[in-house]
Symmetry: C2
Subunit: 341 residues, 2 copies
């Protein structure tokens, strides 16, 4: 038999389609005896629901959408995304919800996809990342009437739910640590300034510097690429009064920076301490291993997934979930600064 439908089951059991539907969905309207028989026959015939048919009736699509606006080629290099994806997967697949993934070039295209997917009834909700300072996506998605979870905060994300880690606290802990080691000239190789989290980190750095009375502290924006991370490092290390410590907004840039230091003969951690704002194998397999802010990105993903599922189950709900503040994993790339300097 090609693909049994509930009609086939109904015929075989000798009841109506409706009864079968009730039985299979565990809702009242059939006796326990009948339900058992129906379930048994369904099992025998190896019946599976036809998702399209279900979705047509106005029910769930059984999938959530993740749209990432980045040049497609660069997605591959960020361990963060891959980890996040894994976590999302784990959280969603436990409930048999699929993840529809799409990488687009820019925010305009991203919005277009949200519109399309929503109207095509393709997904039950959206997951949004990389929130910008003044993000046009928020309004659009709010207007779509489809649940959405924003990764990142606290910040301007309107009425949408969010899951976030405390970037500010994290940055403060890094500066505290470096200052305690004796560093007074600290540079911050930041990410795209358009992003909310970049802004939060830059602000935290400034505040912390003031608190510690450090005057030679600065943030330098980049586009998150290893190329710009390396170029910025090269620039920092070749100017007089160079920093004794650099904080990188991603592990990838930190590793690129470490490469530059090696190339320029700057000893790490002897002459330069390096801290990465993100952790992954990357920071552990290089030599020296990098001190890094270790947040469990995988867990972050599962957290987002769960929030998403809760929202889908109960529309109108709003949830803001703060994940544990990441802690600093101290490795070999940080040490007190050289006395000269």
């Amino acid at each position: 038999m090609a693909r049994p439908t509930i009609e086939d089951i109904a015929r075989r059991v000798g009841v109506s389609k409706g009864a079968v539907s009730f039985a299979l969905n565990g809702r009242p309207g059939v006796s326990e005896a009948t339900r058992a028989r129906i379930l048994q026959v369904a099992e025998e015939m190896n019946w599976r629901p036809h998702t399209a048919a279900r979705a047509l009736g106005g029910a769930r699509a059984g999938a959530v959408g993740l749209v990432i606006a980045r040049p497609a080629r660069t997605l591959g290099v960020e361990p963060f995304f891959a980890q996040l994806l894994s976590g999302l997967q784990a959280g969603l697949s436990a409930h048999s919800v699929a993840l529809e993934l799409l990488v687009v070039e820019d925010t305009t295209a991203e919005i277009e996809v949200y519109r399309r997917w929503a109207s095509e009834h393709r997904v039950d909700g959206f997951i949004m990342v990389d929130l910008k300072v003044r993000d046009t996506r928020v309004d659009v998605v709010e207007g779509l009437g489809v649940p959405a979870v924003v990764l990142g905060g606290p910040g301007r994300h309107g009425s949408l739910s969010s899951v976030w880690a405390d970037d500010r606290e994290a940055m403060l802990s890094i500066v505290d640590y470096l200052a305690a080691l004796g560093h007074r000239r600290i540079a911050h190789v930041a990410g795209l300034p358009a992003f909310q989290h970049t802004q939060r980190r830059m602000r935290a750095l400034r505040d912390s510097a003031r608190r510690h009375g450090l005057t030679d502290v600065s943030s330098l924006p980049t586009d998150f690429s290893d190329a710009e991370g390396a170029a910025t490092t090269r620039m920092l290390l070749s100017r007089p009064g160079r920093p004794t410590a650099i904080v990188y907004d991603s592990d990838l840039m930190a590793v690129a920076g470490l490469g530059v230091a090696g190339e320029m003969g700057v000893a790490v951690p002897g002459e330069l301490s390096i801290v990465a704002f993100d952790d992954s194998v990357l920071t552990r397999i290089v030599h020296p291993a990098l001190t890094a802010l270790s947040r469990d990105t995988f867990a972050l993903g599962t957290e987002v997934a769960e929030t998403m599922l809760a929202l889908v189950a109960e529309p109108g709900l709003r949830r803001d979930r703060r994940t544990p503040t990441p802690r600093l994993a101290v490795r070999e790339s940080t040490a007190p600064p050289a006395l000269a300097g």
Copy 2:
């Protein structure tokens, strides 16, 4: 208006649903004038097809499935997958086909997902990776009657289509190069021996060694993790008569190996040459940059996507596509072996 349907359009234009359907799908049955009016109204009303409704009629689902059997946490670290994903995305989204991604624990679960998705009519085809030596998935998917593309070959993948790069040629070119530099003791830190591509590479290495008259050449299987890559390297470097060159089956393991060399005070490339069988930013940002087999994984992804789309459009088609043999990108990690040895 909530969500316009073709019925709404039909009413507004003053024609029947059928006519609207014909017009919107560019098939004959309506005059050009009517078609133009319908398209215009559809545009005005911002109509979008309801994918579920379409799929219900027996048409396309508009998505293809990729199931990866790996411990979810490890997915994040392989640049290869992320790159591949990007390429797939690019190829599919150009035709508005979505990618349904699922990470499962093992092959049994993977097969279960294929079965479920096929019977749920959720996807139009499957993309399979990591083919094993005797892979049970092939038979199952063949029996499902859903088109599938296998990444990797040439090998046993039954009647399924495939896209592959020539691993054998690639390994031969690496050994040729190392032999030409003067290396005679070469080790190969391989991946999981259960995989077809691992077997092909190991066989190629053996054959090539014989051809070059090299006797001290061996392959050591690992699980592809950075941990086992590092451990194997440690073992290799600490035994007497250690290799002067190591070929790693992935860029991640190569970088891990480089870290071990640094830790053990073995100079690269002075005392040890390192070649990675995969390329990504990883190999370029470390210092020294690694000589690597550079295949365009992104392009591989788009190639797979196109093959998939062709198969969906024309069921029964079978295509075996060989991609360009990857070429060796020589960087700083390879040099002639030290004279002493």
